[in-house]
């Protein structure tokens, strides 16, 4: 159907859907036509969705009835969309309904020549400067991820994965690529269940989920509101988490409840999908950070200083990754792409290409990598170097603090650190008390100027803390 609608090999097709079977049909239909699927976040502001559509030249979008209201707002923006599949209403562009698609017989499908090196999907992520960057992945990088993750987690046809992340976040690649490769099953968690943890845990029990993979926040919500005590979830083999550090205290509680599963940390920027793993063999110690872990197969890393020279074992440096699962580059942004890569000219004309993660790490004697913060989460105030993440980990160790975010505010004259905290239901605390708590544990220059209370921390569509919004 897509080729009939003039989708050519290499064309970018938007997927404007939430968790539904149609999403899987869209992903595979687009790739079968030799085209490139571009997930669009229906909860994002219309202007941002329009930016993505224009940036990579999307002419066709696959959507559904539930997204109709949001899509109409996007159509009011200045975009050159030609076709919308999946909405059976009058729109300013050509529409094709799901019913019409269902009428097509499989024998009518056209086979398209494609190479593993061809683009398969583009995932947009927010750049630190504000405009989103389109991370281009090929069939090769997607398939490499599927194979590596299938092998590492020993995924079998009997496995059943719960997919919590939206398509525009690369955690979803396990559900959409790895499971089909292994012959296993992916359960797409409905949006309603993502909002009601007690129903989500019920679904996990009913479906006998064997693999869970999500950001830590989803697991913390299950822990706090999922009524887990009443659920039989012994079918869980793996609990994979990534995208953000998982506070040890919540992780310990969950590991005690689900003691038959192996909890494992997944690390990897979206530009490389995944590059390390760490299986927890024992409960994490109170305030210890969980290691990024070991580098997985078909991947090598470099840890370098500000002069692009390798640092010694135990020293902190920026992590560079060379891997089969790496992106080809950022769509339409040659300069940014060039800056993001480091070329090692081992042999002339056969440079090895590494991706600069912007993450600081150090290597332990047993080759385990340890996270030392983001390059941009390390600031200097009055000459002192401050790790904003360190202040966060001290705050989270407070018995009444559930979640926290620490950020720096900069203006022409000076720079200051502020914190925002979410207290647990039964917690009562004052700003003064929290500052005293911090003063007892941190040097004076690292103390936040203000501590604000809130009932939630602003997060990006991917579920990570939105530091940009906090600074505004």
């Amino acid at each position: 159907m897509l080729t009939e609608l003039d989708v050519k090999r290499g064309d970018r097709v938007g997927v404007f859907l939430d968790s539904s079977l149609e999403t899987a049909i869209a992903v595979y239909g687009i790739m079968s036509a030799g085209a490139v699927f571009v997930p669009l976040d229906s909860n994002a502001p219309p202007a941002r969705i329009a930016y993505v559509i224009n940036d990579c030249g999307i002419r066709h979008i696959i959507s559904g009835k539930k997204q109709s209201r949001s899509l109409k707002k996007v159509l009011q923006e200045n975009i050159s969309l030609e076709v919308v599949i999946g909405i059976d209403e009058k729109l300013p562009v050509k529409t094709v309904s799901w019913e019409e698609i269902a009428q097509i017989s499989p024998s009518q499908t056209v086979s398209v020549r494609m190479l593993e090196d061809d683009l398969a999907y583009i995932m947009y992520t927010s750049g630190t400067t504000g405009t989103p960057k389109g991370i281009m992945h090929s069939h090769r990088s997607g398939l490499a991820y599927a194979k590596l993750s299938m092998d590492l987690y020993d995924v079998r046809p009997t496995d059943i994965l719960a997919n919590h992340s939206p398509l525009h976040f690369d955690i979803s690649t396990m559900g959409y690529f790895t499971m089909p490769l292994a012959g296993g099953t992916t359960v797409l968690i409905p949006e309603s269940h993502k909002l009601i943890p007690a129903s989500l845990s019920q679904l996990m029990e009913k479906e006998r989920i064997t693999i869970w993979y999500s950001v830590p926040l989803a697991l913390i919500q299950l822990l706090q509101r999922g009524a887990l005590e009443g659920r039989k979830l012994d079918s869980l083999r793996w609990v994979l988490f990534g995208g953000e550090p998982f506070p040890a205290k919540h992780l310990r509680s969950l590991m005690k409840l689900w003691d038959k599963a192996v909890f494992s940390n997944v690390y990897g920027p979206a530009e490389v999908n995944q590059c390390t793993y760490f299986h927890l063999s024992e409960l994490p110690e109170k305030d210890n950070a969980i290691p990024l872990g070991y580098v997985w197969n078909n991947t090598e890393v470099l840890i370098i200083d500000n002069n692009d020279l390798e640092v010694g074992d135990g020293d902190t440096g920026e992590l560079l990754v060379r891997t089969a699962t790496m992106m080809k580059g950022y769509w339409g942004k040659s300069e940014l792409t060039q800056k993001a890569f480091f070329r090692r000219e081992k042999f002339p004309n056969a440079a090895e290409i590494f991706y600069r993660t912007g993450d600081l790490v150090w290597r332990k004697s047993d080759a385990q990598l340890m996270f030392a913060g983001r390059k941009d989460r390390q600031i200097k105030i009055r000459g002192y170097r401050i790790e904003l993440d360190e202040i966060e980990s001290v705050l989270i160790s407070h018995p009444y603090i559930l979640e926290t975010a620490v950020y720096n505010i900069k203006n022409e004259e000076d720079q200051a650190v502020e914190a925002i905290v979410v207290l647990s239901d039964s917690g009562r605390e004052t700003e003064e008390n929290i500052k005293e708590f911090l003063a007892a544990r941190l040097p004076a220059y690292a103390l936040p100027r203000r501590v604000y209370f809130s009932d939630k921390i602003p997060r990006t569509p991917a579920g990570k803390i939105d530091y940009k919004e906090l600074k505004n």
């Binding site: 939430d18 539930k66 949001s70 949006e191 269940h193 993502k194 009601i196 007690a198 509101r225 939630k456």
Partner: protein, 89 residues
């Protein structure tokens, strides 16, 4: 539409639908599957129902069946009130 439903609909429209434009909510509109409420909105709604109808909702009752639309919420509330009515002397 009974009076309890009106109260809940007004709360949702006035407080939880910012940024979604003018929406005329009915008791049967899907609150959870259609992107009308977010995670914070659900928690605030639960809090509002507890305060307004003087009930404490245990975590295992905060399930889709009881919160999927305004009608389901009022059904749940009415069941709670019936359970708590003192038996006739």
């Amino acid at each position: 539409m009974d009076s309890n439903q009106v109260i809940i609909i007004k709360y949702i429209q006035d407080n939880l639908l910012t940024g979604k434009g003018e929406i005329e909510l009915t008791p049967e509109d899907d609150l959870l599957g259609s992107g009308l409420l977010d995670s914070m909105g659900v928690m605030r709604l639960v809090g509002f129902v507890e305060e307004t109808f003087h009930i404490k909702i245990p975590p295992e009752d905060i399930v889709i069946e009881n919160f999927m639309d305004v009608k389901a919420i009022t059904n749940y509330v009415e069941c709670q009130h019936v359970d708590n009515e003192p038996s006739p002397q």
